[in-house]
């Protein structure tokens, strides 16, 4: 069963990711991104991160992709990118080589060190029927206990991001000069 879930979710993730890269229409790329994000949410559930799976669906698929689609519609939905022509002849082969290099090196490192990682924490609590909230409780103890300063700093970050975006996208009114 775990294998089945892994294979299906991995197929969703990889198909969506390849769709983001190869689809020329931005809307299609955004919809492929949703497929990848749902696959990652399934992987989170399979790895005992239930709260993060919910946040993944709500924040990523619900907010960030909608923001992407909103900007695509704002800028004109019919504008497809011409991905047949490439301005630099060597760019795509080089990019594929770099990508395969990243995949190969990280995979080699992971496989070579697969027995090294040892347990160091106090263990993840697996939610069961008796205590279905245990993952949320454990995560909230961590966020509001050990990492509470970082949590407060993220609120500052979000306020700065919102104010900065408003300043960036605001239209500057032309200054009306007084006729002298």
């Amino acid at each position: 069963m775990e294998l089945f879930v892994f294979v299906v979710a991995a197929a969703m993730i990889l198909a969506g990711a390849i769709g983001v890269v190869v689809r020329s229409h931005p809307v299609h790329a955004a919809l492929s991104l949703i497929l990848t994000l749902f696959g990652v949410a399934v992987m989170f559930v399979a790895q005992e991160a239930h709260f993060l799976a919910a946040v993944q669906v709500i924040v990523y698929a619900g907010a960030i992709v909608v923001l992407f689609l909103f900007v695509i519609m704002l800028l004109g939905v019919d504008r497809t990118e011409d991905i047949k022509t490439e301005p630099f002849k060597v760019q795509r082969p080089l990019a594929v080589i770099v990508g395969l290099g990243v995949i190969g090196l990280v995979t080699a490192a992971v496989v070579a060190s697969r027995d090294v990682v040892s347990s160091r924490g106090s263990g993840l609590v697996t939610p069961d029927m008796a205590d279905p909230d245990s993952n949320i409780r454990q995560l909230s103890r961590s966020v509001f206990g050990d990492y509470v300063v970082a949590f407060e700093v993220t609120s500052v970050l979000l306020v700065v991001a919102v104010v900065g975006t408003v300043l960036l996208t605001r239209r500057v009114k032309p200054v009306v000069k007084e006729a002298s």
Partner: protein, 109 residues
């Protein structure tokens, strides 16, 4: 036979990490190949999701909730980054409709 195969091969942390590496590599290729700034942003999201996946896999493997906490913060930073980036893209596209990343490489209006 099918059930024997399924019980024999349960996904380990290594599987999740390799999948995360492949997802990260696809995101890298997308950022390097595509010229539409919106699609490049989506590829950055792919790379962030790959990292999140490996964080969650490590949290399970090491029995430490800190990995999941880190994913939480990565999501917050990703949301802020998308908001700022899309604001920049909108303000650029308003001046130059249809610009790709080669047209705006000089970082000046």
């Amino acid at each position: 036979m099918m059930s024997a195969l399924m019980s024999a091969a349960t996904p380990t942390t290594t599987w999740y990490l390799v999948l995360s590496a492949v997802l990260f590599g696809i995101g890298t290729v997308g950022v390097l190949v595509r010229r539409n700034p919106l699609v490049m942003f989506m590829c950055i999201e792919l790379m962030l999701n790959a990292v999140n996946l490996s964080f969650v896999a490590f949290a399970k493997r090491m029995g430490d909730i800190g990995g999941q906490t880190t994913v939480f913060f990565v999501m917050v930073v990703a949301a802020a980054e998308v908001v700022v980036g899309l604001g920049i893209i909108v303000s650029i596209m308003r001046k130059r409709p249809g610009a790709n990343v080669d047209d705006i490489s000089a970082l000046k209006g």
